[in-house]
């Protein structure tokens, strides 16, 4: 199994004003195996291993939920827009089909 799975990077604008719509950019390290590829040496199918569930919480409240499939690329990049109207933590949770859960929390403090 490759090392470094589930490392997460979340990027926010440097300064956030209250009520501003900000772009949140996230990157997670994951192989996203489709289950359709064959190993060249052993000639066996590489089992599917991909993120299929992403949830985003803002201040403890679920704001959006995504279902991902095998069509998403390796090391997926995701960006979304968020109205920063309160000082609260932003928690993003990725879950894969083998039971792995990866999460990261960043604090959003609008001025």
């Amino acid at each position: 199994m490759p090392q470094g799975i589930g490392k997460i990077k979340i990027r926010l604008p440097r300064t956030v004003r209250k009520g501003q719509v900000i772009a949140v950019k996230t990157l997670i390290l994951h192989p996203m195996e489709t289950g359709l590829r064959t190993d060249k040496k052993t000639k066996k199918k590489i089992p599917a291993y991909y993120i299929n569930d992403v949830s985003i919480y803002y201040g403890g409240q679920l704001i959006t939920h995504e279902d991902w499939t095998i069509a998403v690329s390796a090391n997926p990049f995701m960006s979304f827009y968020l109205k920063a109207d309160k000082e609260a933590p932003l928690k993003i949770v990725w879950k894969d089909n083998k039971g792995g859960v990866y999460q990261k929390t960043v604090q959003i403090t609008p001025r």
């Binding site: 490759p2 490392k7 950019k25 990157l27 390796a74 990049f77």
Partner: protein, 284 residues
């Protein structure tokens, strides 16, 4: 005019190919130029100016490179692991990189700019990954890291990234000279079932399309390794890229850090002298 050029070729110390790449020679005719040691190299002329190449590149890949810059580089995740590895004590002598080179190995800032360089003990060219492994074996009494493994790439990338923003200044004077020439001969040698050389694509036909890929110019080819390559979906070194290209030429692939690949790395890095190091890079 041509006579003058041929007299120049015989007298000049610098091999003709370097001048071709830097564009000091004008339109050339088909001929063979010789290195100091007498090996013949094929004389190739770039089909277009570098400005024209850049224009084509921007037109063909411009949106895509902008998108890559926005999404960020997955190889940056390895930097933190590399930092941990530099501070980790391994081997029989109870040392880490940090015990000699300061906290987080910060004293190695700028070390990567002069690599690859001649090493008297090796009687050959020392590349940066090989230097790290040699150091681990001799000074720390630790096992060498397997090439292209996660730890090896992370450590190389971290220590090299300390030199970010500094220009490459590789020297080919003195004992390094014959190895530079060997690298040049290898770069210009026709090989494989398809009978290609590195130079025919990346010097002469740079800027044209091979199917849907724009062939890249050999400027800025050696300043950002190890890098994340989208085709691999992971991080790899310059020598892995060399081997990939050799495989596409249907030629023999020398093993990692073999003499051929090290000489070729010296030649290519010398061509990129003056470019700023930017590790980790990201390629298509």
């Amino acid at each position: 005019m041509y006579k003058k050029i041929s007299i120049l070729l015989k007298t000049l110390v610098l091999p003709a190919a370097v001048m071709l790449v830097t564009g000091t020679l004008g339109v050339g005719t088909w001929a063979q130029a010789a290195t100091q040691s007498g090996n013949k190299i094929e004389k190739l002329t770039p089909s277009m100016s570098y400005a024209e190449y850049q224009k084509r590149y921007e037109k063909y890949y411009g949106d895509f490179t902008a998108q890559m810059a926005e999404e960020g580089n997955p190889a940056e995740f390895l930097l933190d692991d590399g930092k941990d590895l530099a501070n980790k004590v391994v081997g029989s002598k109870g040392k880490s990189c940090a015990s000699c080179h300061g906290k987080d190995a910060l004293q190695l800032k700028g070390a990567a700019t002069t690599f690859p360089k001649y090493n008297a003990e090796l009687k050959g060219i020392m590349t940066f990954p090989l230097q790290i492994n040699t150091c681990r074996e001799k000074q720390m009494g630790a096992k060498p890291l397997k090439y292209e493994s996660y730890d090896q790439l992370a450590l190389t990338m971290y220590i090299k990234s300390l030199s970010n923003g500094m220009p490459i200044k590789v020297s080919i004077d003195g004992p390094a000279r014959p190895f530079y020439e060997k690298g040049q001969v290898a770069y210009y040698k026709r090989q494989g079932q398809l009978n290609f050389s590195c130079a025919i694509c990346h010097v002469q036909y740079a800027g044209y399309k091979a199917r849907s890929n724009l062939i890249s110019n050999n400027k800025h080819h050696a300043d950002h390794w190890p890098c994340y390559r989208l085709k691999w979906g992971k991080t790899g070194s310059l020598q892995r890229r060399f081997r990939g290209c050799l495989k596409n030429m249907r030629a023999k692939k020398p093993p990692f850090q073999s003499e051929e690949l090290r000489n070729m790395e010296l030649y290519l890095t010398y061509l990129n002298n003056g470019d700023l190091i930017q590790v980790p890079g990201m390629r298509m």
